[in-house]
Structure formats: structure tokens, C-alpha cells
Amino acid sequence: MLRYLLSRLGQSAILLLIVSCVGFCVLSLAPGGPLSQFALSPGMTQEQLTRIADQMGLNRPLPVQYMDWLSHLLRGDWGVSYRDGQPVLAIIQRHLFATLLLMGTSTAIAIVLGSAIGIASAVRRGGIFDHTMTVMSMVALSIPTFWFGLVAIYVFSLNLGWLPSGGMYAVGNGSLADYLHHLIMPALVLALVDVAIWSRYMRTSTLNVVHQDFVRTARAKGLTRRRVLMKHILGNSLVPMITLAGLQLPVILGGALVTETVFTWPGMGRLFLDSLGYSDYPVVMGLLMASALLVVVGSLAADLIVALIDPRIRLN
């Protein structure tokens, strides 16, 4: 167990190193740069821009800049934003809350809805419900999330006026009800794809379990259908779902980015786009690292949880 953990950690570290290296190269080799936003300011000269770039260390050789950034990162210093000089870590933490709120809510919706649909489909495999859900989930997987968001805004905000078209809360109103009011539409839109994915996996997962001996034994022992379902199938088919949750993280994160844009949700996705627009490299790099870290830790945690709750799986 310990050896496995160590080797997984080692692999994760190498992975993060590759991510950081690729990310840094892409950003640094790109034309333009963080100073271009000042190029149109009255009185700005190239001389002045060069001087600022020198002071910010932007003219040093790339490997030097990378090692400098990396060594600071390893000491827990994520650098400061080029835009406002705030520590990158603090900036990310602030936006992380909004993203986690959105992702968490939509994942919760997806798990509940997806599991229900998946199990119902598996139990009556080949029925009308199963077929309908199969087709619907594939269509759901094909809809661009942002477009679905636009349509939702058109219907629920512009036409019906039920829900706000964007933002996380109204100005000067920070009540729970207000948060929920703003949260409901983006969370449901983001959940669409996840419901489809979860229901598909849950269906397969349930089907695998249904045919195993212990279920047949349980049924033979005269347990009701519902009890068998709840106790055995749900418990056993949830295990692979935890792994899936880990693997789904990058997808959900990517989806959150686009959804945040449509609904002007103040999370990491929008921060990423803003920072990209200003070439705020420390923040962009920080976000790339944070999301990679989230993904790595997520899948590691998923594997460990599975190992802990399911003794049949041996880690090696």
C-alpha cells in the first residue's frame, strides 16, 4: 500500500513537471506579452516598455525564467499577478470557491439524476425508457454547453424573467436564497453533460453487477427487488463511479470554464480568460498548475477511496 502510494505520488510529480514545462514554454514563446495592454497609453514609449520588461525580468532567457518560477513554486511561492501585484495563490483561492460551488452543485445534481437514470435503464434493459435515455444522453453529449446556456438564458431570463442572466449574487445582496437563485441555471446547464455521462456509466456498472452471483443469491433468498437494488447493486456499482468521478474532473473543469463565461460567474474559468487577455502569465500558469493538481489529486484520491472501501481491489 505504502509503496503503491509512493510510486503514484512520484508519477504525479513527474506529470505536474511536464505540465508546468509545456505550459511555461507555450506562454513564454508566444508573441505579445503582459505589457501590450499599456502600449496605447498616452505617452508610452518602446524604451519605457523595455525598461518595465527588464524590471519584471521578462527579458531573461526562458530556461532561467522557468527555473526561477519553478524554484519559487517549490518553496510555496506561486508568484504575484502582473496586473495587481496580488499573490497568485490568494487570487486562485478566491475564484476557486465560485468554481467549486458551481462544479459541486452540478456534480451533485448529475450524480443523483445520473444514477437514478442509469439504474432505471439497467434494470429494464432494452425497454422504452432505456432506449429513450440512451438516445437522449447521446444528444446531450453533443450539445455545446455554452449554447445550451444561451438558450436557457433566452428562455428563462429574457422571455420568462424567472432567473437572473448572470452573476453569482445581486449587488448588496448576499443571502443564501439569492445565491441559489443565481446558481440554479448555470448548475443545471453544466450538469446536462455530466448527467448523460453518469447515467451511461451507471447503467453499464449496474448491468455488470446484476449478473453477479451474489445478486442472484440475494434474489433467490427472497429479498425484494427494491432491497436488492438498494443494498447490493447501488453499493457495488458506486465503486467504479468513484474512479470515474476522478477521471471526469478535467472535463467538468473545462465545462465550468465555458459555463462561467456565459453566465459571468466569477470563477477560475473567467479568471483564466481575463488573465489570458492581459497575458498575466503568473496567474495563467498558476491556474494551469492548480487545475492539473486538482485532477491529479482527484484521481489519486478516487483510487485510494476505492481501495479502502473495496477489499477486492488490490493496489499494485
Binding site: P31, S41, P42, G43, D84, G85, R94, D274, G277
Partner: protein, 551 residues
């Protein structure tokens, strides 16, 4: 950089809008006058929420920043003096604006003296003295400081603190635009920087000023809270709190304004398509106000295609400004022939007016010997009349204008290829080192209300020609250089007016850029708020936030 977002509107109604603009201006005049008129100085009360669609992030005014950051500076800090809407300077931290007439500036323009108001204190209680002003002038040229600009400061020598309220310095050459530079120089205190790296001092995230409002708190990505400075040295503030909210989406910002969640809609303002609706909102005042920015179709004068004046004239004739302004921009901006705002005292009203004519454009090109070649594209001496046009990717309205221009240019045998770039790429080396063919760009080339544009039009200011500055069009005209030098050295307002009017005429004839329109924005505030007033000479609305009041 001016990024104007677009919104669609109903049929264009420029005339009406312009009338409204004029009426709005007249309507606002009393509140501007109100500053000098006697207003009883009551205790500050209430709050105003001001919305911006960009986030202020740089709080040290001497560090590189963008337009929206100025919105905070006017509340926290004071300049020595500032421009009023008519382009006249009024004193803030000084007892009198220095001029040659009052002896503040010597006859030769080389020696300056300013006298500061007595009894002014910083927000932390420390007295404000001439030493702070000296520090403010010296920091920008400190080689270790990440400075926004050095224009003007670099010419100052022997800055001497004569007394806590008196400062003198000399200039290495007469430089009239210094007044404009100083009007946008916010004075920062020296004491918070003692023993600090000026680039990383705590001050930079918790500024201390002499201004009407004190730094409260900042929720990054959301809002900045400022509170009244009870000891403000001037009149005001009249508000207990000023909250500046960052709302990154113009639609959402407008919706919140409509819902009454924000009191004043600031930078990027009401999108033109909402103007009609906004005017009908109960309890809301709107106004179309001209800005200091102008939109132009800029040419890279180094390219062989554009060396021929006839080509530039033909392109200008084929530019259907009216359709662009009326249809795409809903008639909000005003057509212009120059870079100078029409509200400026230096504006030249006698420039030859533009007339859209495909026939004339074709005639000009035929006469100059540009004959149609392969694919109907004109060419002459092996040079094809083909070029790329770039702007910031994602600026929808400008992209629409671009595609419209592309179609009209095709009618005169000119092939324009659109090649838009992300902002960080667009305004990097591509722009600064003149790597483009043509660009559609919105710019404010003045520093405050001063008409000096040496940095944009003098041949020595072109990085592509080995100079330093923002003459990225690589425009060269000896007469322009002469006029710019003469204008910068003159302290006589009448003489300067003549010089800058001639300058506009020369540039209009040369057409290094095809002037399109002067930007106007649709401002809005609740009727119960008084104070907001347009000022083409300042970059942002909060220039007079000390006067704002509620009820």
C-alpha cells in the same frame, strides 16, 4: 486603449442622439458650476455604487495602469491641478495654477514654481508637504521603479523644496505640455515608501492619498469600498461611501443599472443599442458624451502601397463613414477629420470634410496610374493594392466595420485581408514595431487637454525608424516636426492654438490615418444622484467625484 463594445440598436437616429447629447451637456452645466457655487458643506451621507466593466487593479498611480484605474485615483488622490470640461486648469493642491502671467513659470519656460495649500494632510494624518511632491516627480525616473511614463519628469532638474509649501524646479528645455502631464499626475506620499522597494511597497495595495475618499477594502474581482475623508482639504466629499463594482459583462452591467442595483454606470457605459430603452427608464438620467478617443483606419506609411498620396486619398474616399456610424454604431459617435476632440479649444473646425464616393476613389486611382490587374486588383510598378487589416480579435463592432470596409474597398479594386489578433499579440511588437499593414484602432493621443502629440506624430517617435515613441504609423513630415517643436516650446495660448490648428490641417492632407469618428459614450445615472459630468479632458468619469452627492 479604448475598447468600445458594441450593441445593436433599432434604426439609427443620429440627429436625435446628437440633439440629446447637446441637451445633456447644457443640462449638466449647473452641476459643474455648482462646484464653485456656494453649497453648504454638510456631513457626508449616503453612498453611491459606481459600476465599471473593467477591474481596477493598479493602485499606485505612478505604475503602469489602464484607463479604469484612473477611476480610483480621482477618489483617493489629488493632482496639483486639473482640467475642467472647458479645458481650463483649476487648482486643487496648489493655491494657484502656475502660468507665465502669474510668474509661476519663467518667461523662457525653464523655471517653474508652485505654492501648495496649507494644512493638507494624508489619510493617515501625516502632513502633506512639498517633499511629497518632489518624491512624486522623482519616482518615475528612478531606474529601479516600474514607472508608467517619464515624459516631462525626465526634463526636470534641481527640484528644490523651498519650504513645506513651496517647490521649484528647472527644465532642460521649455516644455508647455508639462502642465498636461502634471494635471494627470496624482501626488503620492513619500513616507510609505521609506525603506521599501517601490515596486512592492504595501502602499501599492492599500493606497494613501489626500483625496476626498479613503481606501476601505477591496474584494478582488468584485468591488472596492472607499469611505469619506472627513478631513478633505477642499469642498466635499458629500458621500459616506463610494463603492466601485466590477461587472465584467456589459449586458449584466446594464441589467443591474436598470434594476437600480448600481447608481452610476461607468466605464464602457450603456451600450448604444440600449440607449432608447435607457432614456425611457423612470428615475434615470442618460447622456451621450463625446470622449477624447477617436477611431481611425491607420496605415503603415512604410508600406509601398501607402507611399502614394493618391492611394490614401482614394481609400479615404471609399470609406463609407456614414453607414458605419449610423448603422453599426447607432449614430452615437460623431464623424471627424482629426485626432483632436471637437470639444477642445485646439480643434480645427475648418478641415476639408470627407465625402464618400466610389467614383471619386476610382478616378483618383486611375489618374495615379493604378490599373486593374489580375482578379480586378489594382497594381502599379509591381506593387499590388493589397494589404492586411488588423484589430483586436473579439471587438465585435469593430470587426463588423472592418468587414464592411473590406466590401467597399473591393469595389475600387483594393484587396483587404482581415487578420485579427488577440490583444496581447496585437498591441505588442506587432503594433509598436510597425509590423502591420493597416489597423483599425481607437486612440486618445492627447495627454489630458494638452494638444501636444509629439509622441504620436513626430518622425523621431517611430520605433520602426529607430526612434522612441508611439508613431507606429512611421509617419514623417518635416513640417509636422517643426510645428510640434514650436507648439511644445510655446506658453502663449493663442500662438499654440494656431500651431495646432495648422498641424491638424497638415495631417488631414497627408492622411497617414483615415480619421473615422470621435467616440461618444452613453452615460447614465440615477436622477437622485447629482454630480456626474462629462469631461472630455479627463480619461474617466470620476474626475469630480468629490462633488458627487445623493438626493
Amino acid at each position: 486603449m479604448t475598447e468600445h463594445h458594441d450593441r445593436p440598436l433599432n434604426p439609427a437616429r443620429r440627429r436625435t442622439l446628437m440633439l440629446l447629447g447637446a441637451a445633456g451637456g447644457a443640462m449638466m452645466a449647473p452641476s459643474v458650476l455648482g462646484r464653485s457655487a456656494a453649497f453648504a458643506q454638510g456631513a457626508p451621507s449616503g453612498q453611491i455604487i459606481l459600476g465599471f466593466s473593467q477591474e481596477p487593479t493598479v493602485f499606485n498611480p505612478l505604475m503602469p495602469h489602464i484607463e479604469v484605474d484612473d477611476g480610483i485615483y480621482y477618489a483617493i488622490f489629488d493632482p496639483l491641478f486639473d482640467f475642467d470640461p472647458d479645458g481650463q486648469l483649476f487648482p486643487i493642491l496648489v493655491t494657484e495654477v502656475p502660468t507665465v502671467a502669474n510668474g509661476g513659470i519663467s518667461e523662457d519656460g525653464l523655471t517653474w514654481r508652485i505654492r501648495l495649500k496649507e494644512g493638507v494632510t494624508w489619510h493617515d494624518g501625516t502632513p502633506f508637504t512639498a517633499a511629497d511632491v518632489k518624491f512624486t516627480f522623482e519616482l518615475p525616473v528612478n531606474p529601479d521603479f516600474r514607472s508608467f511614463r517619464t515624459t516631462g519628469y525626465a526634463l526636470m532638474r534641481d527640484i528644490t523644496v523651498v519650504s513645506p509649501t513651496e517647490l521649484t524646479w528647472t527644465m532642460t528645455k521649455p516644455f508647455a505640455p508639462l502642465a498636461g502631464v502634471l494635471a494627470s499626475t496624482f501626488i503620492v506620499p513619500a513616507h510609505p515608501f521609506e525603506g521599501q522597494d517601490p515596486n512592492a511597497a504595501p502602499f501599492n495595495n492599500a493606497p494613501i492619498g489626500t483625496g476626498p475618499f479613503k481606501w476601505g477594502e477591496r474584494m478582488a474581482g468584485d468591488h472596492i469600498l472607499l469611505t469619506a475623508n472627513a478631513n478633505y482639504h477642499g469642498e466635499g466629499p458629500h458621500l459616506e461611501r463610494l463603492i466601485i463594482r466590477y461587472i465584467p459583462d456589459l449586458n449584466v452591467m446594464y441589467t443591474q443599472f436598470k434594476a437600480g442595483d448600481i447608481d452610476v454606470i461607468g466605464l464602457q457605459y450603456i451600450t448604444p443599442d440600449h440607449l432608447t430603452e435607457a432614456e425611457g427608464l423612470p428615475g434615470v438620467a442618460t447622456e451621450v458624451a463625446g470622449t477624447g478617443s477617436f477611431e481611425s483606419f491607420a496605415l503603415n506609411m512604410q508600406r509601398p502601397q501607402f507611399k502614394d498620396l493618391a492611394v490614401r486619398q482614394a481609400l479615404y474616399a471609399a470609406l463609407d463613414k456614414t453607414s458605419i456610424i449610423d448603422a453599426l454604431y447607432y449614430g452615437v459617435p460623431t464623424p471627424t477629420e482629426t485626432y483632436m476632440p471637437q470639444q477642445s479649444a485646439f480643434f480645427n473646425p475648418d478641415l476639408p470634410p470627407h465625402a464618400f464616393s466610389i467614383e471619386k476613389a476610382n478616378q483618383l486611382l486611375d489618374d495615379a496610374g493604378w490599373a486593374r490587374g489580375a482578379g480586378g486588383i489594382r497594381e502599379k510598378d509591381g506593387v499590388r493594392l493589397a494589404f492586411t487589416n488588423s484589430t483586436t480579435a473579439g471587438n465585435h463592432l469593430r470587426e463588423q466595420a472592418q468587414q464592411f470596409i473590406q466590401q467597399t474597398f473591393a469595389e475600387i479594386g483594393v484587396e483587404m485581408t482581415i487578420s485579427n489578433l488577440p490583444p496581447a499579440v496585437m498591441w505588442g511588437d506587432y503594433w509598436m514595431n510597425s509590423e502591420f499593414d493597416t489597423v483599425v484602432v481607437g486612440m486618445n493621443q492627447l495627454s489630458g487637454a494638452d494638444p501636444d502629440t509629439t509622441n504620436y506624430h513626430r518622425s523621431s517617435a517611430s520605433p520602426a525608424l529607430g526612434g522612441a515613441g508611439q508613431n507606429t504609423l512611421a509617419y514623417q513630415n518635416p513640417r509636422v516636426d517643426e510645428l510640434l517643436d514650436a507648439g511644445a516650446a510655446s506658453f502663449d495660448p493663442d500662438q499654440r492654438r494656431e500651431i495646432y490648428r495648422e498641424l491638424q490641417a497638415v495631417i488631414r492632407d497627408d492622411l497617414p490615418f483615415l480619421p473615422m469618428f470621435q467616440y461618444a459614450v452613453v452615460k447614465g445615472w440615477k436622477e437622485e444622484v447629482t454630480g456626474p459630468a462629462p469631461n472630455v479632458n479627463n480619461r474617466i468619469d470620476s474626475w469630480n467625484v468629490r462633488d458627487w452627492r445623493r438626493g
